[in-house]
């Protein structure tokens, strides 16, 4: 029974807080280091001692990456394919999830089981056949070809179904009493009521698509069709033996998503937990 006990607990708490904060800084340090290195001239980069800030600050590597490489086109490809994957995945899953959740039709359970099963299937094992398929359709080196095999995201449909299942039946019935057609129930009630889910799933799908490497790496042979994730590691064109240049490309590739994340931090956080089926 000593009155200092609460005090002592606070000391321990403070220590944990401090450790956490320090760990966070160390955790993010490689990111900082990457950025700083990309701002140094090449000869400073390879000095055998540590300088946490460039002696000569230079943006020349960025200028080079932006003007001498196809990074702009890669951006465009990344954005286009990621948006395409996101849009098609979310839209098709939305409709299908709604149908499975709310409507009666033959083979509904079978379809649902198929989707659940596909959750476990490693899509990576299908690369050979995807390649053959896409090549056969003449879609290599095209946005469509990059997009198609990336459309298997059973999580999206599973989450949609769960959310539609959880919309109280009352809403559907209220709408039925309100003379609403099935299409109007979907578009005026269910979709708007679940905007949050749609945003979240779109964010998550977009992150996945933006970061995907293996398939775009296989499906693209022309540099002008590469996505940024593939481009910066596969085309030595401009980066060669230049460490800082490589890093500046990395920073350029990572920066937009990183900034978008910092701006929409809450949304992204929600999106992730939601995609895992945890109500945050």
């Amino acid at each position: 029974m000593n009155p200092t006990r609460i005090h002592r607990i606070n000391m321990a708490g403070l220590a944990i807080t401090l450790i956490t904060v320090i760990a966070a800084v160390l955790w993010a340090f490689p990111l900082y280091w990457g950025v700083v290195s990309s701002l140094k001239p090449e000869d400073e980069v390879v000095r055998p001692y540590v300088e946490l800030w460039p002696q000569t600050l230079t943006f020349s590597h960025y200028v080079h990456a932006l003007t001498q490489t196809q990074i702009g086109i890669w951006y465009l490809n990344s954005v286009a394919t990621a948006v395409g994957v996101t849009f098609v995945t979310v839209a098709s899953s939305l409709f299908c999830g709604y149908a499975i959740s709310q409507l009666e039709f033959p083979f509904r359970r079978a379809l649902w089981w198929l989707i659940l099963a596909s959750f476990m299937v490693p899509i990576q094992t299908l690369i050979i056949n995807h390649f053959e398929l896409i090549a056969g359709m003449g879609l290599l080196n095209s946005w469509t070809g990059i997009i198609l095999p990336q459309l298997i995201h059973p999580v999206v449909i599973i989450v949609y179904k769960q959310f539609f299942d959880n919309v109280p039946k009352d809403f559907r019935e209220a709408a039925v009493m309100d003379n609403a057609s099935e299409w109007r129930i979907l578009t005026r009630i269910y979709i708007p009521m679940n905007w949050g889910v749609t945003t979240a799933l779109s964010i998550v799908t977009f992150i996945w698509a933006w970061n995907s490497f293996l398939w775009p790496f296989l499906a693209v042979t022309k540099t002008e069709m590469m996505t940024i994730t593939v481009g910066i590691t596969q085309v030595s064109d401009a980066f060669g033996v230049y460490y800082a240049r490589e890093l500046s490309a990395a920073v350029l590739a990572g920066l937009p998503v990183a900034l978008a994340y910092l701006v929409f931090q809450r949304k992204v956080t929600q999106a992730i937990t939601l995609s895992a089926g945890i109500k945050g």
């Binding site: 000869d43 390649f131 290599l140 042979t221 085309v235 030595s236 064109d237 980066f239 033996v241």
Partner: protein
């Protein structure tokens, strides 16, 4: 006629990449309104050749590409190269007589040619004259001492070490693909061969490989050579003065020349590899131009003509390519007075006599099966993780299992 765009892939980065870009620019300027080269540089080695292979199989390969001569047998077996017919040669205005026999032979399979040779590129020893000079390790001719024997060269390395040099020798020890060149050269110095008929490392060839590995591992064990160093790091170590010498391809010559011209580099030199064993011998390969056989896609006559024009033009103008350190394949260029006056090419031009090439087999060549197997074991061995004997045993097993 409408302007033809020729899609071009190469794997040339660094100093020679810059040279090639310059040549392409010149070509485009000269052919304005007729032919435009649309060039892309891909990652050297396995990535490049995998990409080429799958691209050709699905009809997405370029119109022209650089190709290593060593890999042509494999490519022909896979059917991804288009023959360069005698009509083509005629149209280009080139022919057998313009090339050294070995070079012509390298692009010829069963009497048919599959590529147009561009150059030959051996490996050489780069050295830092300032450091060696200060340590008293230069001969009067300005070349390193001890180039004639294993002991002599090792002594030089040790002296450098004693003089406080961190890495007497910079080696691309992290990259088995690269080290193949050095090791194959050392085998060549013992008259070792990889393939005798269909058998790999037959007879005492295994032992010769082991000797080569042992030398390099010894240097590592004695701390005379940079360990786990990848390609760019090796160059950086040398140019920053941390490594006093470096074994690398002639294609790094322009990097040095350029830096030196800008006053950013010490005095340097490049010589033929030291004779560690019986006699001088240096591994070399050739860059060539090839036309992919795009499956299901016939190349138009106009495009084909344009491609031939590209190959012809570059060959004729390959004197500039020589500034990239390489030895041009086109005879008229190497025979010219200008070429003969070029430095440092002249210093190491003697070694052409001692060049050895990959075995002519579909299993050989850059990023080919042999390459693949051997390089896997080079890294652990060169960095002291694996005994040379063990490595040779494994290599032999895997090669014969191909």
């Amino acid at each position: 006629a409408a302007s033809e765009t020729v899609v071009w892939w190469d794997f040339l980065s660094g100093g020679d990449g810059v040279r090639m870009k310059q040549m392409i620019q010149d070509f485009n300027k000269e052919h304005e309104g007729q032919i435009t080269i649309d060039a892309t540089t891909l990652e050297w080695g396995v990535p490049f050749y995998s990409k080429v292979q799958t691209s050709a199989a699905v009809g997405e390969a370029p119109d022209i590409m650089t190709y290593h001569a060593s890999r042509i047998p494999l490519a022909v077996e896979q059917g991804i190269l288009t023959e360069v017919t005698s009509a083509d040669w005629q149209q280009m205005g080139l022919g057998k007589n313009d090339y050294a026999d070995a070079t012509w032979d390298a692009v010829t399979i069963d009497g048919k040619q599959y590529a147009v040779p561009l150059d030959t590129h051996p490996v050489v020893l780069y050295y830092n004259k300032d450091i060696l000079g200060k340590a008293g390790l230069l001969t009067e001719n300005g070349v390193p001492k001890g180039m004639d024997s294993r002991d002599g060269f090792t002594a030089t390395l040790q002296a450098l070490k004693a003089a406080g040099v961190k890495y007497p020798l910079g080696s691309v020890t992290a990259d088995g693909n690269f080290m193949f060149r050095t090791i194959y050269s050392l085998m060549g110095q013992q008259d070792g061969v990889l393939m005798s008929g269909d058998e790999f490392l037959a007879g005492d060839n295994a032992e010769k490989l082991q000797n080569a590995l042992a030398v390099l591992q010894d240097w590592t064990n004695e701390g005379l050579q940079s360990t786990y160093t990848d390609y760019p790091a090796t160059v950086a170590l040398f140019t920053s003065g941390e490594a006093a010498m470096m074994i690398n391809g002639v294609w790094e010559v322009p990097t040095m020349t350029d830096a030196h011209a800008k006053g950013k580099l010490f005095e340097w030199g490049a010589v033929e590899l030291p004779v560690i064993f019986d006699h001088p011998s240096t591994y070399a390969d050739s860059h060539t131009f090839a036309i992919p056989a795009n499956k299901g896609k016939e190349m138009s006559k106009a495009r084909h003509d344009a491609v031939l024009e590209v190959m012809s033009w570059i060959s004729r103008n390959s004197l500039f390519w020589a500034t990239a350190g390489h030895i041009p394949a086109y005879g008229p260029v190497t025979n010219s007075a200008e070429y003969k006056a070029m430095e440092p090419n002249a210093t190491y031009s003697s070694l052409t006599a001692n060049m050895i090439f990959d075995p002519k087999s579909p299993k050989a060549g850059i990023a080919g099966p042999i390459f693949d197997v051997m390089s896997s074991y080079f890294v652990p061995t060169l960095n002291g993780e694996m005994e040379p004997a063990k490595a040779v045993e494994e290599i032999k097993y895997e090669l014969n299992d191909l």
